[in-house]
C-alpha cells in the first residue's frame, strides 16, 4: 500500500476525485428532475432516488478504481486484453440476447443490465496498445492492419445497435493510436478525409443520426432536447441559480446523464462549467505530459489511448451541451449518473493509474521536451 501510494500519480488521482465529487453534487442537483420525470402513476420515485443510487455506484466504482490501480503494469495489461476479448465476444452476442432500450439494442441483462461497449472502451485502448507494441519484437508484423481490422469489427458491431457516438469514440481512440505509432502524416490526412466521408455516409444511412444532425444544423424545433438543454445551461447565468433552485432542469430529459452539464450550468453557473472543462483538460494534460519522458512504448500508447477515450467522451458530451456538436447519447465520464458506465469509467481510470505508475526514486535518463523538439531534425541516432 505504501508502495502504491508512492508510485501512483497522485495529482491525477486528485483531479479524478475532484471530478467525482462534482459529479456527486451534480447528480444530487439533477436527481429530482429525472426522478419526477421518470415517476409513473404507479410508482413515485423519491426526489433523491438517483442521488443515492449514484452514490452507491460511485463507491463501488471507487473500489474498482483503487483496486485496478493497484495492479502491476503487466497485470493491468493482461486484464485489459482479457476484458477486450470478453467484451467483443459479448458485443457479438448483443444482437441475439440483448435488450432493447430507446430503440437501440445495447444492453445485456446479467442480473443487472450492462453495456458491453462501456467496458470495452478502456479495454480497447489497452488491447490496441498491446498489439501495436508487438512491432518492437518483430517490425515486420502487420500491426496496423490488425488494429484496423479490430476497429472495423468493433465499429461494425456498434453500428448494428446502432450506436454512432461510441463508434466515433472508438474510432477516435484508434486514430490516436495510429498517430502515436508512427504512421506517416500523409496517411493520417487520408484517414481524416475517410473519416469525414464515413460520417457523411452515416448521415445518409442512419435515420437517427440524420435527424440529430439535421436538428443541429437547422436549429431544430423549439423545445427539442438541444433547445431545452441550452435554456437550462443558460438559466443560471454566470454564477448559477443556486443548489436545488434551478427550474429549467425540470423540463430536461436525461438531466442526470447526457445533459448533466446543462444542469450544472443552471444551478452552479457557467463559471463552474468552464472549471469542469479545464479539469478534464488538466487530466488529459497531466497524463500526456508525463508520457513525454516515458520509456515504454506500450505505456505511452495505452495511457494516451485511455486519456483520449475518457477525454474524448467528456468533450463530446460537453460540446453537445454547448451546441457545438450534434446530440449523441453519451454520458459525462466521472460526473454523470450511470450504473455500468460509472464502473467502466472508474475501471478505465484505475487502469490508467496502474499503467502510469512509476517508481519515484528511479530517474531515467530521458530527453526532456526541449531535447525532443530539437531531435526532430537530427538524425535520431540510437541512445542505449
Amino acid at each position: 500500500m505504501r508502495i502504491w501510494w508512492r508510485e501512483i500519480d497522485r495529482v491525477l488521482l486528485a483531479l479524478v476525485l475532484i471530478l467525482m465529487v462534482i459529479g456527486t453534487a451534480a447528480v444530487a442537483a439533477a436527481s429530482p428532475a429525472s426522478a419526477r420525470r421518470l415517476s409513473t402513476s404507479d410508482t413515485t420515485l423519491p426526489d433523491l432516488f438517483f442521488y443515492w443510487a449514484h452514490l452507491r455506484w460511485q463507491l463501488l466504482g471507487l473500489a474498482v478504481m483503487i483496486g485496478a490501480s493497484m495492479l502491476s503494469r503487466c497485470a493491468a495489461r493482461r486484464l485489459g486484453i482479457v476484458l477486450a476479448g470478453a467484451m467483443i465476444a459479448l458485443l457479438v452476442l448483443v444482437p441475439f440476447i440483448g435488450t432493447e432500450v430507446n430503440g437501440a439494442r445495447r444492453w445485456i441483462n446479467l442480473g443487472v443490465g450492462f453495456q458491453p461497449s462501456e467496458f470495452l472502451k478502456p479495454a480497447f485502448a489497452i488491447a490496441l496498445a498491446w498489439i501495436l507494441s508487438w512491432q518492437l519484437k518483430d517490425r515486420n508484423l502487420p500491426v496496423m492492419w490488425v488494429i484496423s481490422g479490430l476497429m472495423g469489427v468493433v465499429g461494425g458491431l456498434l453500428m448494428m445497435q446502432p450506436n454512432l457516438g461510441d463508434t466515433m469514440l472508438f474510432a477516435g481512440v484508434w486514430f490516436v493510436m495510429l498517430l502515436l505509432s508512427g504512421v506517416s502524416l500523409s496517411l493520417i490526412g487520408v484517414l481524416s478525409a475517410a473519416g469525414a466521408a464515413a460520417l457523411t455516409a452515416t448521415y445518409f444511412l442512419y435515420d437517427n443520426a440524420r435527424h440529430r444532425i439535421d436538428d443541429f444544423l437547422g436549429g431544430g424545433t423549439a423545445f427539442d432536447q438541444v433547445d431545452l438543454a441550452e435554456r437550462t445551461l443558460l438559466a443560471g447565468g454566470w454564477t448559477g441559480s443556486g443548489f436545488w433552485l434551478g427550474v429549467r432542469k425540470m423540463n430536461l430529459p436525461e438531466a442526470h446523464t447526457d445533459y448533466i452539464f446543462s444542469v450544472i450550468g443552471e444551478e452552479f453557473g457557467l463559471i463552474v462549467c468552464a472549471i469542469i472543462v479545464i479539469l478534464y483538460l488538466a487530466i488529459i494534460f497531466r497524463v500526456l505530459t508525463r508520457l513525454v519522458d516515458e520509456e515504454d512504448l506500450f505505456t505511452v500508447l495505452a495511457a494516451a489511448g485511455l486519456a483520449a477515450q475518457v477525454g474524448g467522451q467528456a468533450f463530446i458530451n460537453m460540446l453537445v451541451n454547448l451546441q457545438l456538436f450534434p446530440s449523441k447519447g453519451m454520458t459525462l465520464p466521472l460526473v454523470s449518473y450511470g450504473g455500468s458506465s460509472t464502473i467502466a469509467v472508474c475501471l478505465g481510470v484505475g487502469l490508467l493509474l496502474a499503467i502510469t505508475r512509476r517508481n519515484p526514486f528511479l530517474r531515467r535518463d530521458t530527453p526532456g521536451l526541449g531535447a525532443l523538439m530539437t531531435r526532430r531534425s537530427a538524425s535520431g541516432g540510437p541512445r542505449t
Binding site: L180, G182, L233, W238, F315, P367
Partner: protein, 572 residues
C-alpha cells in the same frame, strides 16, 4: 521494469531493433504532444463557447430567486404604508380551440352547456356571448382576472380548451378610493391618468420596484373626504364634487378627491367618462374665495392699514358696467365686515386702490398664471387675464371672476396665505420631516397673522358659520360663482366652494370643498350658495380628519381676534 516485456526477444538484429524502438518511441512521444494540442484546441473552443453564451443576451433569462420574489410592478402605498396599488398574480381564462388537436370539436361538451357551467362560476358572465365565442372556434380571452378558487372550478370542468395562463394584474385594494390620484394600468402594462403614469419608470424598474412608492395621501383622510363630499353632492343633487386636503407647511396633498369617481380595478366606458380630475384639471371661476387673497394683497402692500376704515358699499360703476352685491349689505362696510358678509363692491374698491399691477403680481406669485404645481399628469391651464389688466378686470378678479383656476391653485394660495406667507408647490410624494421645499415668500408674516384672524372671523360671524366645527378653530371663506354659459353668467348653475384652514391659531391644513351645480334641496335649506352646501361639508369633515392628522379639538385655544371683534359688533 521496461525490459521485462522484451527481454526474451533477443534476436540477431537486436541492435537494429533497439534503434527502431528508440525511433518509434521518439515519434510516439512527439505525437503525444500533438494529441495534447488537439485537446487544448477543443477545450479552448468549449471555454470560448461558454464565454460567448454567457455574454450573449440569452443569459438574461435568469431565474434568480430575488427576481421571483419581486412584484411585477412596484407597490404604491399611502404615507403610512397602507397599500393602494399592488401587483396581483392572477389567472386569465383563455379559450384555445387547438388544445385537443386540429380535428373535431375543440370542446368535449357542447358550447352551450360549457357556457352555462361557466356562468355558474362567474355569475356576471354573459352566457350567450360566451357560448357564441366557444362555438365560433376562435381563440381568445373569455375573461381576465380569475381568482384561484374559480380557476380550480374551471379546471374541474375537464375542458382542455379552457386554459388559464397566469397573468400579472394590478389590484387596488381600496376600490374606487383615491382613483384619480392613482390612475390605473392599461392592458399594455403602462400606467395611465394618475401616479401610475407618473411613477411608471420607477414602478417597472427591476432595481427600484422592490421598495413601495409612498404617496403623500393619508388613506383615512382620503376616505373621510370622499365620504363627506359624496354626501354633500348627493344631498344637493350636484353634478360633481371636488375636494382637497393640503398640508400648509410642506405642500403635501393628504387627500384629493374628484366625484363622480371611477374604479381602477374595472375600467369601462363609465370609468373613462369620470377619469377627468376636477381638482387639478378643471378650471373654475372660484368667486368670493378670492376675496381674502385680495385683502391679503392689500394689507401686504399697505393699502389697508386701518381695519376700522369704512368703505362705500354701493354698486361700483366702471364704464357701462355696474358691480353689485348679491343683496344690500349696508351703506358702508369696514374690511372685516366685507369678508364676513362677502361684499363684492368693497372688495372691488380695495382692489382698485391696490391697482392692477400689484394685484397681478400677487396672483402670479401664487402661481395663478400657470398649470398647478403638482406631479399629476392631468393639469388644467388657468384662464388668465394676460399682461395688461384693465381697471374693470382688476376689480372682478378681486372677487374671483374673470379668472378661472383649478381648486388646487386655490388650495396652494390659501396655504401660502395662512402659513406665514410662504408659497410651496403641492406634491403627491411623502416628504420626510425637515425636507419640505423652502418655497417663496408671497406675503409678510404679519399679513398672514391678520388673515388668520379674518378667516376665523368669517367662520365665527359670517357666511362660514356652518363650517365651524366646535373646538377645531376652523377659518375659511365661501364662494358661490355663477357658471358662465352661452350669453353671460347663468344664475341657476353655481360652483359653490368653501376654502378653509384649521386650526386657525396655528394653521396646519387647508381644505377645499367644491360642489359643481348644486341644487337647492331640503338638505341645504333650499339654498344653493356655498354657505349652505360646501361649508357644511367642511364642518363635518374637520372633526373626522382632525384627530387623525394630529389636531385635537380644544375649546381653550383660538386665534386672538379681540382687536377686530369690536369692529363687527361681536365679542366683548
Amino acid at each position: 521494469m521496461t525490459s521485462m516485456t522484451y527481454s526474451t526477444a533477443i534476436s540477431s538484429g537486436r541492435a537494429q531493433l533497439v534503434d527502431f524502438r528508440q525511433r518509434t518511441l521518439a515519434v510516439a512521444r512527439l505525437r503525444v504532444l500533438l494529441v495534447a494540442a488537439m485537446f487544448v484546441v477543443i477545450a479552448l473552443a468549449a471555454v470560448a463557447r461558454i464565454g460567448f453564451l454567457g455574454l450573449s443576451d440569452r443569459t438574461t433569462r435568469t431565474t434568480s430567486l430575488e427576481e421571483a420574489l419581486l412584484p411585477s410592478r412596484g407597490e404604491i402605498t399611502d404615507r403610512n404604508g397602507v397599500p393602494l396599488a399592488r401587483a396581483f398574480p392572477a389567472y386569465a381564462l383563455w379559450f384555445n380551440p387547438e388544445a385537443l388537436g386540429d380535428t373535431g370539436s375543440p370542446l368535449v361538451q357542447d358550447a352551450a352547456s360549457v357556457a352555462a357551467q361557466l356562468k355558474q362560476i362567474f355569475p356576471e358572465m354573459d352566457e350567450a356571448d360566451v357560448a357564441a365565442r366557444l362555438a365560433s372556434g376562435k381563440a381568445g380571452y373569455l375573461r381576465r382576472r380569475v381568482l384561484p378558487e374559480q380557476a380550480n372550478k374551471v379546471q374541474a370542468l375537464g375542458e382542455l380548451a379552457l386554459e388559464m395562463p397566469k397573468e400579472n394584474d394590478r389590484h387596488y385594494p381600496q376600490g374606487t378610493m383615491a382613483a384619480h390620484v392613482l390612475g390605473y394600468v392599461a392592458a399594455d402594462g403602462k400606467g395611465r391618468v394618475g401616479m401610475e403614469q407618473v411613477l411608471d419608470d420607477q414602478l417597472s424598474d427591476p432595481a427600484r420596484r422592490a421598495t413601495p412608492s409612498a404617496l403623500s395621501i393619508d388613506m383615512r383622510a382620503q376616505g373621510a373626504l370622499e365620504d363627506e363630499l359624496r354626501r354633500g353632492m348627493l344631498s344637493t343633487n350636484a353634478m360633481g364634487a371636488a375636494g382637497i386636503v393640503l398640508d400648509v407647511d410642506t405642500g403635501e396633498v393628504l387627500a384629493l378627491a374628484s366625484l363622480p369617481e371611477f374604479d381602477p380595478n374595472r375600467i369601462d366606458a363609465d370609468g373613462e367618462k369620470y377619469m377627468f380630475n376636477r381638482v387639478t384639471n378643471q378650471v373654475y371661476e372660484l368667486g368670493s374665495t378670492f376675496k381674502p387673497l385680495t385683502v391679503a394683497a392689500a394689507i401686504d402692500a399697505g393699502v389697508v392699514r386701518d381695519f376700522g376704515k369704512r368703505y362705500n358699499a354701493h354698486p361700483v360703476k366702471v364704464g357701462r358696467f355696474s358691480l353689485k352685491d348679491s343683496h344690500f349689505l349696508g351703506d358702508t362696510l369696514n374690511v372685516p365686515e366685507t369678508l364676513i358678509h362677502s361684499s363684492n363692491t368693497v372688495t372691488a374698491r380695495i382692489a382698485d386702490e391696490l391697482g392692477p399691477e400689484r394685484m397681478r403680481r400677487v396672483m402670479m406669485d401664487l402661481g395663478m398664471n400657470d398649470r398647478p404645481a403638482i406631479e399629476l399628469p392631468a393639469r388644467g391651464f388657468p384662464i388668465w387675464p394676460g399682461e395688461k389688466w384693465p381697471r374693470l378686470r382688476n376689480m372682478t378678479v378681486s372677487y374671483g371672476h374673470g379668472i378661472a383656476v383649478t381648486p388646487l391653485h386655490l388650495a396652494s394660495a390659501y396655504a401660502a396665505m395662512v402659513n406665514g406667507g410662504i408659497f410651496r408647490p403641492a406634491t403627491m410624494h411623502r416628504i420626510k420631516p425637515g425636507e419640505a421645499p423652502r418655497g417663496t415668500r408671497v406675503f409678510k408674516s404679519s399679513t398672514s397673522s391678520r388673515m388668520r384672524q379674518l378667516l376665523r372671523m368669517i367662520a365665527v360671524y359670517g357666511t362660514g358659520r356652518n363650517a365651524d366645527a366646535p373646538g377645531f378653530r376652523v377659518g375659511g371663506k365661501t364662494g358661490s360663482a355663477e357658471k358662465p354659459g352661452a350669453g353671460g353668467y347663468r344664475r341657476s348653475s353655481l360652483v359653490s366652494t368653501f376654502a378653509a384652514a384649521f386650526p386657525m391659531d396655528r394653521p396646519r391644513y387647508v381644505i377645499i370643498a367644491m360642489l359643481d351645480e348644486p341644487k337647492g334641496t331640503t338638505a341645504s335649506s333650499f339654498q344653493r350658495t356655498a354657505a349652505w352646501n360646501a361649508a357644511p361639508i367642511v364642518g363635518r369633515l374637520v372633526p373626522r380628519i382632525g384627530p387623525i392628522l394630529g389636531v385635537r379639538p380644544d375649546d381653550t385655544r383660538d386665534v386672538d381676534m379681540s382687536d377686530l371683534e369690536p369692529l363687527v359688533g361681536g365679542g366683548a
